[in-house]
């Protein structure tokens, strides 16, 4: 049985390490779980305890974060099935927006919009905003 997916579009500052922000919020969301990272161009997963993820992986523009390696294995084997709902998040970081190159769009795809997912989106948006406030926004002053 396939599960219908959902997505959310967020704004983030350009030229910032957006993936770092995302991974930290994922880690908070799945606190206590050994989350793993997978670049969209690779089929290799890395635990978030691997320094490679933070040094190199965070430069990725499209990647997946799984709640655990077991969840990643399940996704690999069975795809989207009820048992693994919202155990994998898919992120896509766009290029600077032509209308305002200070920003990029961040696509976040997930399975089902639950209360937990809404809280995750709220947390991610607030963290991206906090990084954004470190960027000068003259007209906002």
């Amino acid at each position: 049985m396939m599960i219908g997916g959902d997505d959310e579009l967020l704004l983030a500052p350009a030229n910032e390490c957006i993936a770092d922000v995302i991974l930290r919020v994922c880690r908070l969301h799945w606190r206590g779980n050994p989350c793993v990272f997978e670049d969209a161009d690779s089929d290799h997963t890395y635990p978030l305890s691997d320094p490679w993820v933070w040094k190199v992986g965070t430069t990725s523009r499209e990647f997946f974060v799984y709640r655990s390696q077991a969840d990643a294995d399940l996704w690999e084997r069975d795809g989207a099935v009820p048992i693994n709902v919202n155990t994998m998040f898919h992120f896509m970081i766009g290029d600077p927006m032509p209308a305002d190159p200070r920003f990029v769009e961040v696509g976040f795809a997930f399975d089902k919009r639950t209360a937990e997912i809404r809280r995750f989106i709220e947390a991610l948006r607030s963290c991206l905003l906090s990084v954004m406030t470190q960027t000068p926004m003259p007209e906002a002053a």
């Binding site: 908070l28 978030l48 933070w54 809280r119 947390a123």
Partner: protein
């Protein structure tokens, strides 16, 4: 082991590539002298990091591999931070979480800055400083707000200082 050595030329290039090249203009004729001082401080940081963690932080590799993170490290606030706090910042860049932070300041008294990190492996590390100039690094720390509670997260470049 670092692929390239920290020296006047490589640090100059790193500053330029990470958006902190304005420092060279600010230093003007003193640039070489200031660069030498900075190189010595960065080597001191790398040595302390190696002593503590048995591995060498490759600052120049970070510039090539992850310019956004390197920009945070090569900004003035970080460069002016104490050696201890530079080590702490590198640990944050490599994924550590902030578990506790205390900053105490009173005029005419030494400042007190203490930060406790939890590494991605779950180990706790504590960093302490009495250098009031370390206060500057606080503005590089991100904040996640959820349900009325704020969580300090990560270490990012501060664009407003360039």
């Amino acid at each position: 082991m670092t692929a390239r050595t920290l020296d006047r030329a490589t640090v100059r290039a790193a500053l330029e590539k990470t958006g902190s090249g304005w420092l060279l203009s600010y230093w003007g004729q003193d640039a070489d002298k200031q660069l030498d001082k900075l190189v010595a401080q960065l080597k001191d940081f790398a040595q302390e990091y190696r002593r503590r963690f048995k591995e060498t932080p490759d600052l120049l590799e970070l510039v090539d591999v992850n310019p956004a993170k390197a920009a945070a490290f090569f900004q003035l606030d970080t460069l002016m931070a104490s050696r201890t706090m530079k080590v702490m910042i590198w640990r944050l860049l490599l994924g550590s979480e902030i578990a506790e932070l205390e900053f105490r300041y009173k005029a005419d008294e030494p400042a007190s800055f203490r930060i406790r990190l939890v590494t991605p492996y779950g180990e706790e590390e504590t960093y302490q400083s009495n250098d009031a100039s370390d206060f500057r690094i606080l503005r590089h720390i991100g904040i996640t707000g959820i349900g009325g509670q704020s969580t300090l997260q990560g270490y990012y470049a501060f664009k407003g200082s360039n």
